[in-house]
Each structure stands twice: as C-alpha cells, then as structure tokens.
Symmetry: D2
C-alpha cells in the first residue's frame, strides 16, 4: 500500500513536512462508541515533543492536537478520525548549506535522486517531526485497546551508546530525563551527554516496548504474522536499524531445549519468544527491542558531494537531539498499539465464531 | 492484507499444508515479456528442499514445481503465474502424541486457540514446508530483477550457535553443507552437529543476505520504507526473531561521527546503513541479517499441557533439521527479491517521470 | 490491489488461462470450523460449465474442482483454501486467423498493446473460462454466509435481447434452459435462438441476483460502500456493461416522494433502494441487475486490422455461446456472495462491540 | 481497504463531517515535479459548492481549500499532499426532529444500527458535503493526468426526471444553471424546478462523464478491470444507483454483429463499448453514465419510525438541492480522474518495459 498508510483495518494515514502548514492524520475504521477527546491524545504527544527533556533539542513545540472529525458528543462514531497539529515553531533559517549538498547519513541524497526535488527545510518529510502523528494515532489506538481488549502498552530506553541495563521499568523511565529503565545509570548518562555536547556528536540507543494482557490469537500466518507486522512497524521509525522479538539475536546462540517456552496450565515457564508463536500472540507479554542509530545531524564536519557531484563538506547546525532514542519511546509504543489493535480487529473479522478452548491466563 | 499475500504490485499469494495435496502460489502483476520456465525456478527449490544437505532432515522431497499459467511460448504474459508443487513424501504416521497436546515452542497452542481447529499432521500450515512456495516465487522475482534492473541477490549463514564469522561469502557457502560463509569453521560445525545428534537437540543461526547493483530510489517513506518492508519480509520467515539492516544493533553503540556514511562522487566511504537511507535505497549494497531460533522439534522431552489444560510432556519425533537456519538461505534471498522487485515496480509507478540527476555508481 | 484478487478480508485470488494446465484459486481468511468439501462447490460449477444448457456452447467440460488445502477432517481450518480445476477439453486447433489479427469487440487488441504478448489460444486469460474459479470461490462464500449469517443468494435472467420480464423467480429459472425468470417467454426464446443459429449471431442479456435475510450494517461509507463494491464485483464480470442497485436508472426519472422507502416497525414499505442505504445494508432484500453485451465471438465476418496495422477481416469459429448471459447467473451470484461475506467480516472487525438497537426484521 | 480510501497507488483518503471543524484529505503517491497550487483546485470546488447554481441549495459555502503538505516551491514533491477545507457555514439549528427518528431514504437508520451512534447534524459523514474532498483530490488527479498523460475529462447532465437529451456537450453544460448538455431543454427544466419548489419535492438525474485522449493499456483484468474500478468509483457517489459504460443496458438488447466495435488503422468504427475492452482502455473515448436518485430531503412528510421502533412521521427542513445530480458533475469527473490516474500509474509499474506496437490513434 502507499507508504504513508499503516494498518489493514485500523488504518492510519499521515502527511506533513517539518516546515509546512501542519501535520495531519486520518484514522479509518475506528470502532464506534469509544470515549475520546484531545486530552487522551495530548499526554503522549507531550512525551515526544521537542523540549520535553533537557537532553533533547532545545526547540520547543507545543504540538497541540485537534480532532476535526469522527468524534461526536465525546465518543467515536465509526467514521474516520481526522487529527491536525499546526506547525508553529519553524525558525526562518538559512538553508543554503544543505539546499544543494547532501548531509551524510541523512535521506537528502535518496530523496533528491528518487523524486528529483526535495523540501530541504528542516528535513521536510524525512524530519522526525512526522512521528508526532504516529504518536497521536497511537494514543487513539491505546484508548481503544484499553477499552475493548484491556491491553496496555509501555516502554523505556535500555541502552544509550555503551551504557545499558538488563532492567525493564517503564515507571522508572517516566521519572528521568533519559526515559531510561535504570536509575543507577543516570550519572553515567549525564557524563556521556556532557561529552557529546563538547564534541558536537550524537549517540545511538536501544528502546524496548511491551504489551500487557494481550489475548491469545492476534496476528495470522504467513506473511503478516504478528511479529512481521511489528518488525515493519518498528523498522519504519526514523533511525531504527534493528528489531528483535523476545530474546531476538540471543536465540541464534541457544539450543532448542533452552529456547522453547514450556507450558503449564497457569503460565508459560519462560518467554524467550516474546509472546508470539507462529506469528500469533500467545497471551504472554509481547516484548520488542529496537536499535536506533545515532543521528547524523551533528556539528562534526562531514565529507559529501553536492547535487552536481562536486566534492564538498557539511556541518549540520540547528537544534538537534544528541540521542534520538530518548524521545522515540512514545513513538515505538504508538506503533505497537496500532499494530496490535489492527490485529485484534482482524481476528474478530475471521475468528469471531470460534468457541474459547482452555486458555493459559494472559500475562499482565 | 490477508496474511498469505506479500507485496503490493508484484504480489505473491500462497496456500498449502505439509500434508495436503499440494502447495500452490499465484504471482500477480508480473512484468510481461520476461523469459521464464521451470528450469529457472527449480535450482533455488533444490537448495531449500529437505534432503539437500546431510546436516538437514533425512526426508527427501522432490519439490518439483510446475507452472500452470501466465507463461506463453517461454515468456511471461502479464497474467498471473500459477505455481504448484505436489506433496509426495508424507509418511503416514502416528500423530496421537501431538493431536491433543501442544509442543512447546511451536505454534500448536496459538493455532488451536485462534482457530479452534488445527491440521496437526506435520505441522500443517505452520510447517516450514510452506516456504517452498516463497522460494519458487522468489526465483521468479530474481529473474525479473536480473532482466529488468540488473540486480542480483545472494546469501549465507554467518553464525550457528556460538560459532560465527565476520566473513560474507556466498560462493563459499554454496560449497559446504552448512551454507556457511567461512570454510575455516567447518570442522567446528561438524563437531557441533555431532553433539546435537547425540543430545537430540537443535541450535539457532544467523543468516545474511545481500542485494547487489541496486538502483537508487527503491522504497518510499514513511511506513513502508524499504527497510521496514524487508524487516516484515524476514521476520515473517519461520523461526526468525531478529532482523538487522546494515550494522543493526551495533549502531546503537556508535557515535554519529562514526555511523554516518560519507559521500564521494565515486562511492560512499562506508556502508553502516546497509544501502538504505530514509527508507530509500542508496545504490549501495543492501545488507540484511536475521536471527533464527533453534527449532523446538527435538528429542529432549518438554513439559506442556493438553487441550483440556492437563499437565503432560512431549517428545517431537520425526525427521527434523537440527538447525533450520541452514536451509533458510534461499528463503531469505527469495523474500528479499520479492521485496525489491515490488519496490522497483512501485518506483516506476510514481517516479517514472523523474530525470536522472548526478548518481554515485551502484555497488556490485 | 493487483487485479486478480477480490475482497479485503475474505479474499479470492485466481489464475489460469483457457488453454493452460489448470485454473487455480486461493481463498484467504476463511472463517474456521465451517463444514466444507468438494460436493458443496461442484453444483454451482455444474450450473456454469460449458455443456450445462443446450442453448450454450456444445463444448463439454467437466470442471471438476479439487480442494488442495485449508480443509481438515471436513472443516475449514482458517488457513487459505486452495482450489484447482484441470483443463481437459482444449481442442487442438488452428489459431492462425486470430494469432496476428484482432477480433473486434474482444480484448485481443488491448491485451496485445498493453502486454506486448498474448496467449491467443481460446482467448487466454480473457476467456470466460476464468469465471469457473469465481463460481468455485463463490460457493465457499455461500456456504460461510449460510452457516454464520443465515444469508442466501439466488439469481435469474430477466431479459435476452428484446424479450424481457418483470418477474423474478430463481426457482423457475433453474427449470428452463435459459435460466429465465418467466416460463411464459420460453417459446419466444426458442424462436430467438433458432434465428441466432441461422444468422451465426449472438445477443445480449440482463441478469438479476438477490440476497435474502441480509443483516443490517454490512458495508461502510465512503468509497467502499456496499453498493460500490457490488458494482465493481459485477462490472468485473466478462461482458457486463451496466449495473443497477434496486430500481437503478428508473430512479433518475422519479421524484423524491416516490423513491424513498418509508419505514414501519415491521418492514420497509417499498424497496426502491435495493436493500442499501448510504452504502450500508438495510436488512431488505439486496437487488442487483446487470447488462451483458452480446459476445463478439460470432460467425458474421467483421472488419479489423492485424498486428502491423493492415486492414483485414475475421470470422470467429469455434464453439461459442450465442448468449453469454445464460451461464452468467451463477457467476453473478458468486460475486455477490464474496462481496457480502467480505462486508460481513469487516463489519465484525469494526463494530463487534455495538449493542443491537431496535431492528426492522430482515427480508427473506 | 478501509472505506475512506480510494485508489491503489494514487491513493486518496478523506475525513470530515458536515458539521465538524473541517474536511481533510491526504493524497499519497503523487508523482513529483508537477506544478500545483490552490488555484488549480479551487475552480472545480467552485463548480460543486453550495450556492454555485440558483437551482441548488441556497446555502453558500466558500469551500476554500488549503494545501498543507506535499508541495514545495510550486511543485509536487512526491510526499503526500494534505488538503483541508474548514467548515464555515453550519447554521446552528434544531435537530430534535431527526435526532431520534430516521428520515426515509436516508442513511440515518443504517448508520445508527451499524455504529450504535450517529452525528445527525447536517447528515454527518453521510452528507454530500463529503464530496468536496473528492472534487479537490480529483483536481489534483486531473492536473497530473494532463501533464503526464495528456488526458482530459469533462461531463454534463443528460437527464433530469423525464427530461432528457441524446446530446453530450460539456461546454454547453458549463453555461446553464442545470449543467445540462442541451440548451433546447432549459425552458422545460425551469418549469420542472418551479413545480418542484411548489410541491417541496425533488427529482432524479443522469450524469455522463468522458475522458479524452486516453492511452491504450490502462486497467488490468480480472477483478479490477478499468470498467469495474470506474463502476465502484461512481456507485460510491451519494445517491448513485446505476452505472453504465458505453452503451450500457442498451447493449443487452443488441446483437453481436451490431455491438462489436470494428477496427481500422485510423480509428474504431464505433464506440459501443465506451473505450474499454477486456477491462483495458482501448484508446477510444471513455464514456460513463450514472443514475442519481432524487434526494429524500424533501418537504413532503414521510412515514417512519424512531429509535425505539415507534411509528412517527418526518419532514426534512433545511436548505436542500431539489436535484443533487446538477452539482454531481464535478464529483463524477473527479472520481473518473482519480481512477484513470491510478490505472495509468499501475500500468507504468507493470508494463514499463513493453515496446509500443502499432496503435490506433487515441480519440480526442
């Protein structure tokens, strides 16, 4: 399907450039009769917005969302929900440096060669600003998931550069400026960011998101397995270069006798598979990890070429995040929410007539 | 889209269970006038088929493919290509052990709970036998890619359990029984498989695939970025639990000044991003790695429950691969081929009118 | 979506040429646990097959369908159903006349110009033979509709050339050789077909199909309204040139006070709208009419050109139906069944949580 | 696909209710480098908007469109185009009459039963107001069709109630208040509308649209034939109950020797088929007719029920069109433009490599 749409039934379509008039989003096939207003969407946007953390960009955008359709008297009506966020904080700026030259590690070169034109102001469509609409749509998905399926989703950063943790704690993450799962690493992180500021450099990160209380049966084989859909959802986020479900690459090193998750009537004895078996949710916690590369918007000069193929070099000024992973947590949560709701609705479409067999309780 | 279909324009739809009459596949929107016959499909099937390596299952299936439509006088006609492989090697067998109990690590539990019924013979639709049709469709995609876009694809195993290599060499891989990229590790691998046979256990693996001579401009932002589509393609293969593009998770540890790929008029100075920038191919080699978990079809007994929720245990007899990664190479190549061809055709649809600007030569 | 697929959730994909090895079909997202075997599909195929009526082609094809996947122990499993019909009755024939020249009124010219190649044997993919697979898939849809939604579908011919009827009677239609709704016109029809045989000419027809006991709520605005989907389904049948829902073109002549269907608690007071309001089923009988043009496969010579643009003329020999409308009834029923089931499943996906309000009883 | 989206590659998604904040639209996969600004969209909107004809509703809505993304320095960039029209003319009104009762012939009953809730203000999503966004998206499609394929589209009303014409003249239609193809019928029409005003009644209409200079090869068999897509596009417009391609239902009465369009090297000798053969454009003029039912928004009281199933009656006050067909012309043109552009782009995707054979010149 065209690339600005995600989901089969619960379907999100977005548009908007960094420096256009607005970002917009249309969400189709929303189940009716669900309570919804802007106050249920804004908090996730506030977690993502520039200015939300002192370790992100110093830009400050309100990212105020408005619902323009699909809600009546505080409830969804089943017609498409339109969302809009006006762009308010674009500084007028000198773009002559990047107008004709390609920033290394950015999408400048590929956009220009593919389309023969690009809106270079603030990164245009390739700007992470686009993800605001994912977060907004994800907040709607979260609300429906909670109301109709009792599913909840959270996330945190588990690694920044060489600093990492085995812990997963979404509550802890909400309380520090790095969305980090482990408070014992905060001092190390502060030192790292001080160093990054000195160097004018950036750093990569690992983000983990989880879904709780997921019913058995979401997702369907073969190509659109639930894990395949999640992989697409996450790899489609700016800067993501790797995705793991459950133990991920660690499982390549395991033996079958370790890796399989044995069953008991009360619970599974382990969750190496991350809550998905054969592409279908098992009722266990769904666990997804992703690697984000360090942003290329840095002050360290880089070698590159201009549009005519001449050698040149470039420095990316502007107000950039030294670690885009920090503000990626609500984006990843949003993509997981959209994916799971779509799968849950498709499951109703095909399997509404299936009587429930003996079921191991879902993992909270 | 329903789960047994992959691709938007070049679209592959498959069906077939392990123990049904046949596997079939319909490929839609194939460009016309491309030379095609069964002899261009069979070799990839032969690389995947059971019995192709002495370190795989001792089952021996001919996997003979027949083209039933869409080809006339040796050329594609633009109408859908139908492919069929008859199932010939199903042993009649005693399935009483798995009929009512769930093999841990398999899809038995999730299929049963989702659908209320499952064809337990040989794993049914969840059997890796299904991947034969991916390989067949992928061979068609490879032929079109080669003829119309000059793109080629190859792959190899780069890790089995704890044994791994930094090398990538598809030719070497074709010459050993493990499809392994590095001949210096063959003795270690033989020892490992001897041990696995003794224990009745299995082991995970990492497979890498690459595409060469890819034009700039394939794939489009936002949700269906080329890397997102590849992630879906790979994570949708049985047993895959992690996917990386380029340096993948390693990039989470890097700084921006290391990670960005600088440009020169002749070539990019590195390829950490794996040939994709902003979701669009850059003309560099496309590099994809994936982790496969060890199969749960092992002789080591496992704890589980039956359909009524009673505690029991299970041993998976039968003729199984100790490492499913070995035969996964042509499957991953096939999925990459289908994904790239679909993206190349979509690029023609939207951007056929774009004049070519200065282009860094594609990487062979 | 690629053109050989129909339906969003209940999704049918077909392939096969008139003179290839076989026709095949894959049906995805079939609800599980529905009783199904070949004997539930074959009767509809027998109504469509060449040789089924003495007023159709004298070709005689068995059109024997085989289920190759998706059914286990007599029930659907939720995995895709594969169907195959082998081609058995292709006469070896001299195609030199049509190989290089375009039959007027056929798709020869457009296929050749679009694809640069065409399988001219028996019309290739443009042959009505393709519709066998629609009928087979439709029979599966009918079975699911009946079991899960209690919906039934029937149809008849209501006009052939200038001979028409106001009646609609599917039972009468089953009993005569013209599938005609009105037995009082049979003598006229016999005379007409005698004349057609003498002239070597063909004639057009109108087919009507209806669905009974349809629940309220199938279909959704805006673009994919239920009537829009039905229009696509019917206009996609070979030779169809017009589609009407309810009173169709007659409504262009009406006033609003006549045309609206007033409501009472027991029933609607009329059904000008054909059972669909705002793109959503109303619980009334769904009524669809379609016009089929006369086939161009006739013995009367026609002016045309050859592939190089030279003037020539052509006579279509072979064993052709003088009125393709007669055998179109089960095809139109099949397309209606597929469309309704898909809509019913999508309705479950989005609106499963809606409590039932006061409902006028559905029309049988 | 979800119902508020149309098109496979050139894909239009809309949202918006009659009385919400705004209508919006996202158009995906627009070819880049096409000149575009609001002034190329507004004229078609002005032809559709309430207040554009003295024989339409006396409401007066500016329908001012704004481009919010996808255009840079006056050209399309290949990223999605966002369009927005603010709602400005909603009168505050007393909706108590229709809040709990169902207007006969409207979608009130079906929306309420399907979704369990409806925005009754001004018809909500079922209001014809929604079509403004189709017209806006269609204007974008027309611009691309003109620039890249040299195709143009026009339309007119050919029947209102019992008054009809054999003529087709889009220029004449632009010059009278009825968008009617034949100036000799204007006096009759004036008399008819005087009568309608007296009775408080409405009347149906027939609209015809045509595409000129269409290349051969657009559209593809089987299910998504070009005519099938057009049928869906048109039947999806509010109030449309019948669609014909070429001679439509008239062809049911013809013989094959009359109906087929013979070929010469210079042109086809007739165009009964309306420019489409086998689902593929033939290069002839594409001709589409559609019947619109009379609106049910009339002053004549109608019998109905309320939400609890009690008998009641209703009068639809407000500012309504006595003949919705008049303002439907630009809507039908828009849907034809979107359908053709999508087909043209898909044709590039699959058949870009086909060498051109001898081609009959396209019809202007």
């Amino acid at each position: 399907m065209p690339s600005n749409t995600f989901g089969e039934v619960f379907r999100v379509t977005t548009c908007g450039e960094s420096h256009g008039l607005a970002l917009a989003c249309i969400i189709d096939s929303v189940p009716p009769l669900i309570e919804l207003d802007e106050s249920m969407i804004q908090p996730d946007l506030d977690r993502r917005r520039p200015g939300s953390t002192r370790y992100g960009t110093p830009r400050n955008e309100a990212d105020q969302v408005k619902i323009i359709s699909g809600v009546f008297e505080g409830k969804t009506t089943g017609t498409p929900i339109g969302l809009i966020i006006e762009n308010t904080s674009q500084r007028s700026q000198d773009y002559s440096a990047i107008m004709n030259s390609y920033r290394p590690g950015h999408a400048d070169y590929t956009y220009q060669l593919k389309y023969g034109i690009r809106d270079y102001r603030g990164g245009g469509r390739a700007s992470a600003r686009e993800t605001a609409m994912r977060v907004a749509a994800g907040a709607v998905a979260k609300q429906v998931l909670r109301k109709l399926f009792n599913v909840t989703i959270d996330g945190c950063v588990t690694a920044i550069g060489e600093i990492n943790t085995d812990k997963y704690d979404a509550k802890v993450a909400l309380d520090n400026d790095f969305n980090f799962a482990d408070n014992s690493k905060i001092d190390d992180l502060k030192a790292l960011f001080k160093d990054l500021a000195t160097c004018g450099d950036s750093v990569g990160a690992v983000v983990e998101v989880r879904a709780h209380n997921v019913p058995v049966g979401l997702g369907s084989p073969i190509f659109n397995r639930l894990d395949a859909q999640i992989a697409q959802a996450m790899m489609g986020i700016n800067a993501v270069k790797g995705v793991e479900i459950g133990d991920g690459f660690e499982m390549a090193r395991m033996r079958g006798s370790q890796a399989r998750d044995e069953l008991t009537p009360e619970k599974f004895m382990s969750n190496h598979s991350g809550g998905i078996l054969g592409g279908i949710s098992s009722g266990q916690e769904i666990k997804v990890r992703m690697a984000l590369k360090p942003t290329s918007s840095i002050l360290v000069p880089g070698n590159t070429i201009d549009k005519e193929g001449n050698v040149t070099s470039i420095v990316t000024k502007g107000r950039h995040d030294p670690c885009v992973g920090i503000r990626a947590v609500p984006i990843a949560e949003a993509m997981l929410a959209i994916t799971l709701l779509d799968a849950a609705m498709l499951n109703k479409a095909q399997c509404f007539n299936v009587p429930q067999g003996f079921t191991i309780p879902s993992e909270k």
